[in-house]
């Protein structure tokens, strides 16, 4: 008999709070994601999807709008469905199995395929880290800070922040900075585009068979459906302990994230099309890209753009190297943990630090055509996407793994169609690289 019971024996009067306790239980238990709390803590779907609007994303969308007007809009519209389906599949896998993507790949596909996929991920994420640092350099240069000064300081600061654990505090600041990009929506309306043309661009597909168009197209796919986003949404779902029980809310969060981030992309294209394309201004530098915000921010366009770019790039630059290190260490069973020393977890810390250094060094290469490089990185992401998509599709259809939560026909259809299209684009790109078609 527990002591308190003995005490009861000894004459204690129950405070009569039992009923109050039950009542509190009832009050506490709104659905897991109490909505107000949810607004404060962003959901996995929202966080993962917003990774698409980083430095590479801004550069790609701006180039698409400035170079080709509204003709990319239909592709963004369709890709929202693709992305929604793909992100949902990964979130579902995380909720149903409680495991991350790299873990599932390791457990189900044998070591050789795992090694191949991880290599692709390392390459895709590595180049993306480079693009983030380029974004940081470009943003700070808009404030007249030369990159040879800013990059070393930033690289070291990010390393320090993450390793010492203070990252979560600054994360909120960077996140706030990215809200600047909502200004694109306002700017797009203020620029008074021809909405008829916008509608036509959204609903009528067009395509050009020339190399640079295809490259930009593939880049847009690569930045909208970045491999990193799939790994990240699944990991976050597992991290937050979301199970199939509370999945309904999570599914809503995934779709919400995809729609929101694609909406921003949509408006970036409209905005740049209305401001830059109409004046035949190509986007080669960050300054030109910033000009698209002028209808909204006037003389502050440059500063505002720089802030948003900085925030988005810092966010990604801090999270990507760490996430990649975790993924790879998990897949191969290396020791991991940010609080470990280099001796205790050499490969983990090595990958993390190495990616940061690589990003920093590459961003400092003199004479780098920034926007071009950003776009090339997204092309790389697009090329490597099918590898991950095929793996995800095989996993999410595995009956032993997913049980009743495996894919249905519609989702399979959309996902496979996306995969096939991306592979076709990649092949087309390679062909046009050697043999111009148009």
């Amino acid at each position: 008999m527990k002591p308190i019971s003995a005490a009861k024996e000894v004459g204690r009067v129950l405070a009569g709070r039992g009923a109050k306790g039950l009542e509190r239980l009832r009050r506490l238990r709104l659905p897991r994601y109490r909505f107000l709390a949810y607004l404060g803590i962003l959901g996995p779907g929202l966080i993962a999807a917003s990774a698409g609007n980083d430095a590479g994303g801004i550069a790609t969308y701006s180039s698409a709008g400035a170079g080709y007007g509204y003709s990319f809009l239909w592709m963004l519209f369709l890709s929202t469905f693709s992305l929604g389906v793909i992100q949902e599949m990964c979130a579902r896998m995380g909720a149903a199995t409680g495991k991350g993507l790299s873990e599932l790949i390791r457990e189900n596909f044998g070591i050789r395929w795992t090694a191949f996929v991880m290599l692709c991920v390392l390459f895709a994420n590595g180049t993306t880290v480079i693009s983030e640092f380029i974004g940081i350099a470009a943003a700070l240069e808009l404030f007249k800070i030369p990159r040879y000064v800013s990059i070393p300081i930033v690289t070291f600061s990010v390393w320090w922040l993450v390793v010492k654990g203070s990252y979560s505090r600054v994360e909120k600041i960077f996140l706030l900075m990215t809200f600047v990009f909502l200004g694109y929506i306002v700017s797009a309306f203020l620029a008074k585009p021809d909405w008829g043309q916008v509608a036509r661009g959204t609903l009528i597909p067009t395509f050009h068979l020339d190399g640079s168009y295809i490259a930009l197209f593939l880049a847009t796919v690569g930045t909208t459906i970045t491999p990193y986003m799939q790994i990240s949404v699944q990991s976050l779902v597992v991290e937050r302990g979301i199970t199939m029980r509370d999945y309904a809310m999570e599914r809503a969060d995934v779709y919400f994230g995809v729609i929101t981030s694609n909406l921003v992309a949509f408006f970036i294209v409209i905005c740049t099309a209305a401001t830059l394309y109409t004046h035949q201004i190509k986007v080669d530098t960050a300054e030109q890209a910033a000009a698209a915000l002028e209808p909204f921010a006037g003389v502050y366009a440059k500063a505002l753009f720089a802030i948003g770019l900085f925030g988005a790039s810092m966010l990604a630059a801090s999270v990507l190297p760490l996430a990649t290190a975790y993924s790879i260490s998990e897949a191969f069973g290396f020791e991991k943990g940010i609080s470990r020393s280099f001796k205790e977890a050499p490969i983990f810390m090595g990958i993390f630090t190495g990616l940061l250094v690589l990003g920093g060094l590459t961003a400092m290469i003199p004479g780098l055509p920034l926007i071009q490089v950003l776009i090339i990185v997204q092309v790389v992401n697009g090329l490597l996407l099918p590898v991950l998509l095929v793996s995800i599709l095989r996993l999410v259809n595995d009956e032993e793994l997913m049980g009743e939560h495996r894919n249905g026909i519609v989702f399979n259809g959309i996902a496979w169609a996306t995969t096939v299209v991306v592979i076709a684009l990649s092949i087309l790109l390679v062909i046009t690289a050697f043999h111009p078609l148009a």
Binding site: K2, G18, E107
Partner: protein, 413 residues
């Protein structure tokens, strides 16, 4: 000694040496033997897969399998009771290495011939084994940098197939410190974590569960058989059980409360009634009150007579009388033991003591405890009656910087 990685994909030949299929997987029998026997092969020929009983095997080596006849009994492969597939269910799965207190992966499986029968004898968890599988066959030699865990020592295997879970009792795992068990369980998915805890005895499971974050606890308990979950909740400290239940959906929490013994569930409900960031929300009702007219000897006898070990025994909380719960003093165990047995407690106890009200802020209470080096702080109501105590471990958790409290993220961010 053979490795699974050496066998996969190798040819299966008939008695004359003609190849007709390759090895896709190996079937083992996971019955009562310590080292499972190999009972069959899953063979693949072009796109067809079929099953070959081990009785038809005459030779096995790193070059492949030779059958004992020409006639092959081709049956499609079907899973059966107590059988598992080495590649599908065992290879690359997580296992608990109890000796080193860590989770590792089965990077390769060791097979040996024991008294004429082929059996699984060990699991290679080294990085070397991974390299061996990655590189083309035979390039990486076996060396002593392999780390092989004897199959008899493998306490848990995380796999979708229930039969592969070793029904061997997990007594070695149960002997680890609860914090170590918790850390190991944290590295598994919540399904697997629930499996591990279900197979431990209630007390050990409760101790381990208490060391995890409330969200994780909720996920694991949520996935468990409800009777077992209720049993474990009964063994937990009431304040930890209350925190856990607070994280579950209402129907689940009330269901579990109804399955618990009435006394236990009442305690937990009481604690749930307090606001989270208050002393009431942090305290536990697991303390020992003694009336002030007891002598030291009577108090000691009383303690012995309680039977079940109580949480906080270093301080005893002295009440006005047997009927009242008004706190009049605190008696340390040291003073109790060292005093003259016939002396009444009222003369030994500390009459001046610190206390808080249940609505006081939790953080302030924790700071008070840290400042005065208290092991426990009594929580009173307006009339001075003791409601519960805040223990040092809870205070420490409140005072630690946030980063230290959480676990390692289990997967990449």
């Amino acid at each position: 000694m053979l490795y699974l990685s050496q066998l996969i994909g190798q040819p299966i030949v008939d008695r004359a040496g003609g190849k007709f299929a390759s090895i896709k997987d190996i079937i083992i029998f996971t019955g009562n033997d310590t080292y499972p026997t190999l009972t069959g092969l899953v063979a693949r020929s072009w796109t067809r897969e079929f099953f070959i009983n081990w009785s038809q095997v005459s030779e096995l080596d790193s070059k492949g399998v030779r059958l004992s006849s020409f006639k092959i009994d081709l049956q499609p492969f079907q899973r059966r009771e107590n059988e598992a597939l080495l590649v599908r269910d065992v290879l690359d799965r997580q296992i608990i290495d109890v000796d080193d207190r860590r989770i590792v992966r089965a990077n390769d499986v060791e097979i040996a011939q024991v008294n004429g029968q082929y059996r699984v004898v060990g699991v290679d968890v080294s990085f070397q084994a991974l390299l061996r599988r990655l590189a083309p066959r035979g390039v990486v030699r076996q060396s002593n940098r392999s780390e092989v865990i004897d199959w008899a020592d493998v306490e848990y295997l995380a796999s979708e197939m229930p039969v592969v879970r070793l029904k061997v009792s997990m007594d070695r795992l149960a002997k680890l410190h609860p914090v170590e068990i918790a850390r190991l369980v944290d590295s598994l998915s919540y399904h697997e974590g629930a499996e591990v805890l279900e197979s431990l005895d209630d007390e050990t499971a409760a101790d381990a569960l208490e060391e995890m974050s409330p969200e994780r606890q909720a996920n694991i308990i949520g996935g468990m058989d409800e009777e077992k979950a209720a049993d474990i909740l009964e063994e937990m400290e009431p304040d930890d059980a209350a925190d856990l239940l607070g994280e579950l959906p209402e129907e689940k929490a009330t269901e579990l409360l109804s399955l618990m013994e009435k006394e236990e569930s009442e305690e937990v409900l009481e604690l749930l009634s307090y606001d989270e960031d208050t002393a009431g929300g942090t305290m536990t009702t697991d303390f020992t009150p003694v009336p002030q007219d007891f002598t030291a000897a009577q108090a000691t006898d009383y303690l012995r007579g309680l039977g079940e070990p109580t949480g906080m025994i270093y301080y005893l909380f002295v009440t006005e009388s047997i009927e009242s719960h008004k706190l009049v003093g605190i008696l340390t165990l040291r003073d109790l033991i060292l005093s003259d047995p016939q002396k009444p407690i009222s003369e030994i106890m500390l009459k001046e003591f610190l206390s808080v009200h249940y609505d006081d802020a939790a953080l302030e209470s924790a700071r008070l405890m840290a400042e005065y080096n208290l092991l426990a702080l009594p929580v009173l109501d307006e009339t001075g009656e003791i409601q519960g105590i805040i223990t040092a471990d809870d205070a420490v958790n409140l005072l630690l910087p946030e980063n230290w409290q959480g676990r390692l993220p289990r997967v990449s961010i």
